[in-house]
C-alpha cells in the first residue's frame, strides 16, 4: 500500500477514541505561551507573503493564518467557552475526520516549520510551535506520514536514520582517512574513532558517509589543519540527525538525543560538535535538553562556530584567492532563524572566498529552501516541496552566483533538486568544503 493510501485508510478508520487521544496530546503540548498565541490571531492576513508556499502557489490554504486557523478552530471548540457556546460566531470546529484531514494537509503538507511567518506576524505568533503541537496530536492518532515515521523508526532501530551498519560506517571512515592522508600528504592525518578523552566528539549527517564522503573529509581536513583533539564514534551517537523534531513525538526525539548523550559519556568528551545540519543543530543545541527534561553536562556547538574560532585564533589559515567564483550562502532555518548561528558562517566564508554575495533577504529573514520540516522525507508532498522551493531558486538566480554554500545536508539535497528543477547550473557545497579547499599552511 502506498503512503498516500495508508494515510487515507487510517483517516477513514479514525474513531472517537482516536480524536480524544489526539486532543489530549494536543492539549499536553500547550503551555501559556501557546495558549496566548491561540487567542491572538487577528486574521489580518499580513503573514501570507512571508510563506514560500504561498508565494509560489497563492491559494488560501497556503496562507500561514489559514493553517493556523485550522488548528485554532479545534482549540476554540474543545478548550474555550465561546467555542462551545457560539462556535459559528468564532469559527470553532470539532475534531473529526474532516478536521484531522485538514490538519494533516496544513501542518505536514503545507509547512516546513521554517518560522518565517512568525517574524512577519502582526502580533508575533510563533506559528511553528502550534503546528508542532498539531503534528504531535496527529501522531497520537496514527496520522504521521508513514515515510516520515519510517525515518524516525530507522534511527531508533539502527542508531542512524539511513540504517548504515557499524561495519560500513567504520569502513567508510577508514577509507576517508586514507583519502585525507593522500590529500594532505600527511600519514598521521586521522579520522579518530572512539578516542577516549578527546576534547571534541564530532557528529555527522548519515548522508555524508552515504553520499557525500568529501564533505566529511573536508571537516576532517579542517580539524587536521587546526590540530584539533577530536573523535568520531563507531557506535550509536555519530548521527546528528533527529527527525523526531519533525514527527514531533518528543519521546522518540528524546531517545535519539540520548544516543548523543551516551556517546559523550562513553568517550568522556568535553564538547559535542554538530556537523553542518540545520535541524540536527536545533535538535542537539536547543531541543534535546527539553526532550530529555534535563541539561547536558557538556557544551554543544556547531562546526561553523568552531571554524570561526579557528580563523579568529589563527589556528587555520585560508586564502580566498583559491575560490575566485562568485559564492552565495543559503541560511538553513533551523540553524539561523531558529538556531541563532548567523554570523559565524559569514565570517568564515568572507575569509575563504574572494567573491561572496548575500541573497536577499538573508539571515533570519531568509526563505526556507522548501526541504525543511521533514519535507524531504514525505514523498507524497514532493511536488509541493519543489514548487515552494521556487522562491529559493529565484533568490539564487538573483545573486548570479556560481556556487551556493549551505551548512546543512538536508538543504544540500533540496538545493540539488532545485538545481535540476529550475536549471540553476550552480555548484552546491558545504562551508567546510569551501574552507578545506582554501586552507594554506
Amino acid at each position: 500500500m502506498s503512503d498516500v493510501d495508508e494515510l487515507e485508510t487510517r483517516l477513514e478508520a479514525l474513531t472517537e477514541a482516536d480524536f480524544q487521544r489526539g486532543l489530549e496530546v494536543f492539549r499536553s503540548k500547550l503551555k501559556e505561551a501557546e495558549a496566548a498565541f491561540l487567542n491572538a490571531c487577528v486574521h489580518c492576513g499580513l503573514c501570507a507573503e512571508s510563506c514560500h508556499y504561498y508565494r509560489m502557489d497563492p491559494v488560501l490554504e497556503n496562507i500561514p493564518a489559514a493553517k493556523l486557523e485550522t488548528i485554532a478552530a479545534v482549540f476554540k471548540r474543545h478548550f474555550t467557552t465561546m467555542g462551545k457556546v457560539a462556535p459559528g460566531l468564532v469559527g470553532a470546529r470539532s475534531m473529526d475526520k474532516d478536521m484531522a484531514r485538514a490538519w494533516v494537509d496544513a501542518v505536514f503538507g503545507r509547512c516546513s516549520l521554517c518560522g518565517r511567518c512568525s517574524l512577519n506576524c502582526t502580533v508575533g505568533i510563533l506559528l511553528p510551535r502550534l503546528f508542532r503541537a498539531a503534528r504531535a496530536a496527529l501522531g497520537a492518532m496514527g496520522l504521521t506520514p508513514p515515510d516520515l515515521q519510517a525515518t524516525v523508526d530507522t534511527a531508533l532501530k539502527h542508531g542512524n536514520n539511513m540504517a548504515i551498519t557499524r561495519e560500513d560506517w567504520v569502513e567508510t571512515v577508514q577509507w576517508i582517512e586514507e583519502e585525507l592522508q593522500m590529500e594532505t600528504g600527511d600519514p598521521e592525518a586521522r579520522l579518530p574513532l572512539d578516542k577516549h578523552g578527546a576534547k571534541i566528539l564530532f557528529t555527522v549527517n548519515p548522508r555524508e558517509p552515504k553520499f557525500f564522503p568529501l564533505s566529511l573529509q573536508a571537516s576532517a581536513k579542517v580539524f587536521w589543519a587546526a590540530k584539533e583533539d577530536w573523535t568520531l564514534t563507531a557506535d550509536h551517537g555519530w548521527d546528528l540527525t533527529n527527525y523526531g523534531l519533525f514527527n514531533c513525538k518528543d519521546e522518540e526525539a528524546g531517545l535519539i538525543t540520548q544516543n548523543l548523550v551516551d556517546a559523550m559519556a562513553r568517550l568522556g568528551c568535553e564538547t559535542l560538535v554538530i556537523g553542518e545540519c540545520g535541524h540536527g543543530f536545533a535538535s542537539a543545541r536547543w531541543e534535546g535538553e527539553e526532550w530529555l527534561k534535563q541539561g547536558f553536562p557538556f557544551k554543544v556547538m556547531s562546526i561553523l562556530e568552531l571554524m570561526d574560532e579557528y580563523l579568529r585564533d589563527g589556528r587555520i589559515k585560508v586564502d580566498p584567492a583559491k575560490h575566485p567564483k562568485k559564492v552565495t550562502l543559503h541560511d538553513p532555518c533551523n540553524l539561523v532563524r531558529h538556531g541563532g548561528i548567523c554570523e559565524a558562517q559569514r565570517r568564515v566564508l568572507r575569509a575563504s572566498a574572494a567573491d561572496f554575495v548575500e541573497m536577499t533577504p538573508n539571515r533570519e529573514h531568509n526563505f526556507c529552501c522548501g526541504g525543511g520540516g521533514g519535507q524531504l522525507a514525505m514523498g507524497r508532498y514532493k511536488a509541493r516541496r519543489l514548487n515552494s522551493g521556487g522562491m529559493k531558486a529565484q533568490q539564487i538566480r538573483d545573486t548570479a552566483a556560481e556556487v551556493v554554500v549551505t551548512p546543512c545536508h538536508n538543504c544540500v539535497d533540496q538545493l540539488g533538486e532545485l538545481n535540476k528543477e529550475y536549471k540553476l547550473k550552480v555548484q552546491i557545497k558545504t562551508v567546510a568544503e569551501i574552507v578545506a579547499d582554501a586552507l594554506v599552511p
Binding site: L60, L126, E364
Partner: protein
C-alpha cells in the same frame, strides 16, 4: 447617575473581569521549563519585540502591505482616541474636537479594513463572523466618539455602542487587546534567548 454612564461602568467592569479570567485561564496552562543554555538575552529580545521589531524595517509583511499597515495604525489610534474621549466624558471634562478628528480618522481606517476583509477573497477565507462583528463594534465606537465631539446629541448612541463593545470585547477577537502583550513577550523571549533577536546585522 445617567443610566448609560452607569451601564458603561458596569460593562467596563465586566470587560476587565472577563479579560482577567481569560488571562488566568491562559496562565493555568503553565510555564515551559527550559533546560538548554541561552545563547542570547531573552529580555533584549522582548525589548526589541515591543520596539524596533514592530517597525516596517523589521517586517517584510508591513513593507509589502503599506496601506493595510497605515489603515491599521490609523484604526488603533482612532480607537485609543475614542477611549480617551470616553475617559474624559466619564470624568465630566468634555470631549475635545481634536481627539474627535483623530477618532473619525481611525474609523475610516476601520472601514477600509472592513472593506478589504469583505472584498478580498483570501481575507474573507480566513475570517469568521466574529471578525466582522468586532470590526463593526470598534469602528462604530471610534466613529460615534468622533461624531459626538461635533454633535453632542449622538452621545447616548455612542454610550450604547460603547456598552456593546465592552461586553463583546472579551468574547471575540478584540481580546487581542490583552493577548497581544503576552504573545509579543513570548515572541521576543524565544528569539532573544536563542540569540536571533535583536538582529546582529
Amino acid at each position: 447617575m445617567n443610566p448609560l454612564l452607569a451601564g458603561v461602568m458596569l460593562a467596563t467592569i465586566w470587560c476587565a473581569g472577563a479579560l482577567v479570567v481569560l488571562y488566568m485561564r491562559t496562565k493555568a496552562f503553565g510555564v515551559r521549563q527550559l533546560h538548554s543554555r541561552p545563547a542570547g538575552d531573552a529580555r533584549a529580545g522582548v525589548r526589541y519585540a515591543f520596539t524596533q521589531g514592530m517597525a516596517p524595517q523589521a517586517k517584510e509583511s508591513v513593507r509589502m502591505n503599506p496601506l493595510s499597515y497605515l489603515a491599521g495604525m490609523l484604526y488603533h489610534t482612532g480607537i485609543f482616541a475614542g477611549l480617551a474621549l470616553l475617559g474624559l466624558k466619564l470624568s465630566g471634562l468634555g470631549t475635545p474636537r481634536v481627539l474627535g478628528i483623530v477618532a473619525l480618522l481611525g474609523a475610516t481606517g476601520g472601514i477600509a479594513l472592513l472593506g478589504k476583509r469583505m472584498f478580498k477573497a483570501h481575507l474573507r477565507g480566513i475570517s469568521c463572523p466574529d471578525d466582522f462583528v468586532s470590526n463593526l463594534l470598534a469602528t462604530g465606537f471610534a466613529a460615534l466618539a468622533g461624531i459626538t465631539c461635533f454633535l453632542p446629541s449622538f452621545a447616548s448612541l455612542w454610550l450604547i455602542e460603547t456598552i456593546a463593545l465592552l461586553i463583546y470585547a472579551p468574547l471575540g477577537k478584540i481580546r487581542h487587546c490583552l493577548f497581544f502583550f503576552p504573545t509579543r513577550y513570548h515572541f521576543g523571549a524565544f528569539f532573544g534567548r536563542r540569540g536571533v533577536l535583536p538582529p546582529t546585522a
